[in-house]
Subunit: 106 residues, 2 copies
């Protein structure tokens, strides 16, 4: 169990995908340029469920205060949220109504 204070340490924001392409030599990782109020590069393992082309323009939700990580030599500054079930289905998470990028999610 976690408290409200624990959860408040996680900074979640809406973002808009500006650019997306596959990470070289990976069939799963996609590197994106995302506007979360500021531009940032993030990497997500969603390349089996989404093509880079269909991600561009989509609204997403990003953990924006995650320590930067390097995957296959590429830096990620945040983590995209996606839902996945035990049958291998995967969906990104989006605001249901239009709301500007950089909006806080809580």
């Amino acid at each position: 169990m976690i408290t409200i204070e624990d959860f408040a340490n996680v900074e979640l924001k809406t973002g808009k995908v500006l650019e997306a392409q596959r990470v070289e030599k990976s069939n799963k990782l996609i590197v994106m340029k995302v506007d979360t109020g500021e531009e940032r590069q993030i990497i997500a393992g969603i390349g089996k469920a989404y093509t880079p082309e269909e991600l561009i323009g989509k609204s997403i939700v990003v953990v924006t205060n995650m320590q930067p990580a390097k995957l296959m030599g590429v830096e990620s500054h945040g983590m995209l949220l996606a839902a996945s079930d035990d049958e291998g289905n995967l969906s990104i998470i989006s605001p249901e109504k239009q709301i500007k990028q950089g909006s806080k999610v809580k």
Copy 2:
């Protein structure tokens, strides 16, 4: 900044709203019965942006391991995620594609 381990302490799941009604004497709080793989009651302060009627049947994202809290005398067993901007707009967060309730979000 948080680590992947910090974030892994937060359990997020997709849910489907089964029932919804306003909390008495509140113009903001809505109490919902939600299926997140198991049925739970949650309360969310989204009553200015959504009517109970339009919430029923919608897919949402819930923090499922939040300590239970009491608001206006009503128990909440989880926290619905919503995006809000500084102009008072608010939107719930939903899977972009159909995926079964109770799917993990990470």
